[in-house]
Subunit: 497 residues, 2 copies
């Protein structure tokens, strides 16, 4: 076991470096003074580079090779397996390419911001071209069986393949597009009251109350404000979230808080013996997103949840909500309306935004569309899927930061997470028949424990597919999510879906 | 210049690692959730260890050797000189000893906290013995001409020698002890009003106002609360301070804010071309402390300063201070009274606390006193220098964390800083005859610029001795500080000193 201990020390150092870089970034988004941007960028780059060098060192490779041939206990064996996968991946990408991607992303990010401000896609286009080229080069370096996009997708959703995503999305689309049309034809529920003026202090207080109730552990985490909500992990004992308070949109902070809490509960729920190893992470981005969506949508947009919390929210905002009854509120926070911006989309139309991006990404990396074709493709598919066409590039193709950061193959995990959340939630309801009643009492202990037991505590020891199989809920499919949507929105809008 | 650029890259990486460790520690003292202590200790240790490894790598040594033989521009030449000194020092201490000291300090710190809580010096004694032993070993490894303590002192106050400190302190003591006696014989000015209830929010606001007025740059820094006030630097563009608000002691936060601002102005004032190099630090702890003390005592406890700020403070706290006039307030914040605790000591008695520690440290590392003898020696010297004897070990020998952290040779720099502050301030007044008038108008720009020009901007390019010589204020001496004290306290207490 000497080799295993030495391996753990080396991997632990790489992990400490990476987590320190994460703290540098958290600090940048929350408390860092504005003048420090340049120095901070250098510090983050240094630490990320050193973390990569440490992880891909020859010594790590040698220990992994030795240990793969040995009898190990189950935890050690999982660690060697997962670390070997990461190691092989990391070593396949030449350092030069890592640096070129980082440099291209850094330039692209700056330009993207200016392009978005000025609604000028042409400004961003050459940067996107460069990022597509480098991603194709990366995919070739990584290798793949069927298509280039497989290699990219695999980074974010290990084991998932492009064809499988395409199959799932096709099954979704065929039902979802008419479903959204049918709902859009109905009269909109009243929702203007969500956009009155809501004092920020009250929103913060209510959010903190909800966080405590769902079981986010403040001894091992904290919430702060930032321009874009996110969650980040420095250790299993230090998982932080941020939120954004909007004075004229009470739903925004509320659901972002629940969303980030879902991510954080995953990370806080890992077994402590995974600490400081490559196993102490979500098993895939899709599974991670399933946890945030489960708390945001399945729990947070349910009627039982608000049976408990709505009176408390009303107490915080009597003048805005005193005259609004529970059902009206519940309908308003579940209003479906096609819109331009992904992050503001409702639960139902959200996946259509993702499909569009998935399709465009494939066209780009398979050289079936040039970057110059994208704006027209974007607008045409928005029209086709959602029946709306963004008036500006900023509200269309320039809205997301992901491509500017160099990430292609990331978007599909959002929709996969939505599908998983429905599948996982259906299994939880099966195992916890009292769940709705507990939620109406503000008691989330059973659900949290169930999630921890089946998903959180394993970290990366079990793949997303193995977790779903273990729940006996079948392989990942579109139908459970569609069934949930049909039931929920059929009832909310009083129509047959 | 290829070698110089490569050296800068390597030193820059070591610097980035160290600053990241500093951020991990800042976060621990300000925002980190309580449950994360253990993981954070590991992360800090990893980053400090890697920073040390990077700095002492053979490549750094080779580049330094090559560059010492080359013609360099003045900045590069200073950098190579300072880095060579650090490198030689760091390489002389074996890694094993670094680790043993860190481990001993980690254990000692925990035990020291318990020992202080239970007033039990015997609990701490074996840890202190170990730390003394390791410090002696370190001094032997570093080497010295005259005495072991020289090697330790040199880490904190480069170029300073034990005999010189002893000479300065002897000159101080002979005047200071009777001076304190004479003042203690006088009637105490009224000061109870400083200890009424002062709302924390008002204290915070006033502190922020003062920080802006003295020119602390919030674009390149911020203030937070912590259990013990400190300042810390992540880059020249990110120098942060903390303060502690005490509801029943309005002077505490106020002077700690000014103290830390003094440290921070030094770091914010460095030339930007020193960024990410070993030159971007205070040239010695004594010089650093001179800056904090200058703003805390020479400026902050002066009458002109309060001519401007007292009406503002009164506005914040009308019920507590409305009936107290400026002179009464000024006398209260300058009240001299022997006390047990160093960090609460007034300007005049403070140096006596330091002398006592300096003498005890020397006795320990020269094996002239055993750790078991220390409590009795402490009490006897408190009686001799200050005329008071601490009733408990917690108020005596167990009060400071420094020894528990493994630092011996650090304490004298506090008193050296006090002496330097008087000498520097005398030169500033000579060069800025309008200084008192400016302060009374709340204008500190000239003083700040003067300090920046003569001290701050140079970082470690000039030694403390060279800075003092450059000011044409003579070598470091006790007399300028004593003269200032005689003048100030003679006038405040209406006696001849």
């Amino acid at each position: 076991m000497e080799a295993f201990r030495e391996l753990c020390d080396l991997l632990g150092q790489a992990d400490d470096l990476r987590r320190a870089a994460d703290l540098l970034e958290w600090d940048q988004e929350t408390y860092m003074p504005g003048g420090a941007t340049r120095a901070r960028a250098r510090q983050v780059a240094t630490l990320r580079g050193l973390a990569h060098d440490h992880f891909t060192s020859e010594r790590v490779g040698r220990f992994l090779e030795v240990l793969r041939g040995e009898e190990l206990n189950p935890l050690a064996s999982d660690l060697v397996r997962v670390a070997s996968r990461d190691y092989a991946r990391a070593c396949r990408i030449p350092s030069r390419l890592v640096q070129e991607l980082a440099a291209a992303a850094s330039r692209a990010k700056d330009t993207w911001q200016r392009a978005r401000q000025t609604n000028d896609f042409n400004l961003f286009a050459p940067h996107l071209e460069r990022i597509v080229d480098l991603n194709i080069e990366k995919a070739e370096a990584l290798g793949y069986d069927v298509c280039c996009y497989d290699a990219l997708l695999d980074e974010f959703e290990p084991g998932m393949r492009t064809a499988e995503v395409a199959r799932l999305f096709a099954a979704l689309k065929v039902e979802l597009v008419p479903m959204v049309r049918a709902i859009t034809a109905c009269e909109s529920p009243p929702y203007a009251f969500l956009h009155e003026q809501y004092e920020r202090a009250g929103q913060w207080e209510f959010g903190m109350h909800v966080l405590r109730a769902v079981g986010y552990d403040f001894m091992r985490g904290r919430q702060d404000e930032s321009a874009h909500p996110f969650s980040t992990t420095f250790s299993i004992s230090d998982v932080r979230i941020t939120t954004r308070l909007s004075e004229h949109n009470v739903a925004s902070a509320l659901f972002s808080t629940l969303h980030e809490a879902g991510h954080a509960l995953y990370e806080q729920g890992m077994d402590l013996d995974l600490e400081n190893t490559p196993l102490a992470e979500g098993t895939s981005l899709g599974m991670h997103e399933s946890q945030s969506r489960l708390w945001e949508n399945q729990v947070g947009r349910s009627r039982p949840f608000w049976v408990h919390f709505y009176p408390i929210l009303q107490e915080h905002f009597p003048s805005q909500l005193g005259a609004i009854d529970l059902d009206t509120f519940h309908r308003a926070i579940n209003r479906v309306a096609p819109s331009f911006i992904r992050v503001e989309a409702d639960e139902l139309t959200y996946n259509l935004h993702i499909m569009l991006r998935f399709e465009l990404e494939q066209l780009m990396v398979e050289r079936k569309a040039s970057v110059g074709d994208l704006p027209a493709l974007w607008d045409a598919r928005m029209e086709e899927y959602l029946g709306v066409c963004p008036p500006t590039a900023a509200q269309g193709i320039l809205q997301d930061i992901h491509w500017a950061l160099g990430a292609i193959g990331y978007f599909p995990t959002y929709a996969l997470g939505n599908l998983m959340s429905a599948q996982v939630y259906a299994c939880a309801r099966r195992d916890l028949p009292q769940l709705d009643r507990c939620m109406a009492d503000g008691d989330f202990a059973d659900l949290r424990t169930w999630l921890r037991l089946h998903i959180h505590r394993h970290g990366r020891r079990r793949s997303a597919a193995a977790i779903l199989a273990g729940l006996d809920g079948g392989a990942l499919a579109a139908e459970p999510w569609l069934a949930l949507m049909r039931e929920k929105y059929g009832s909310l809008y009083g129509i047959q879906l």
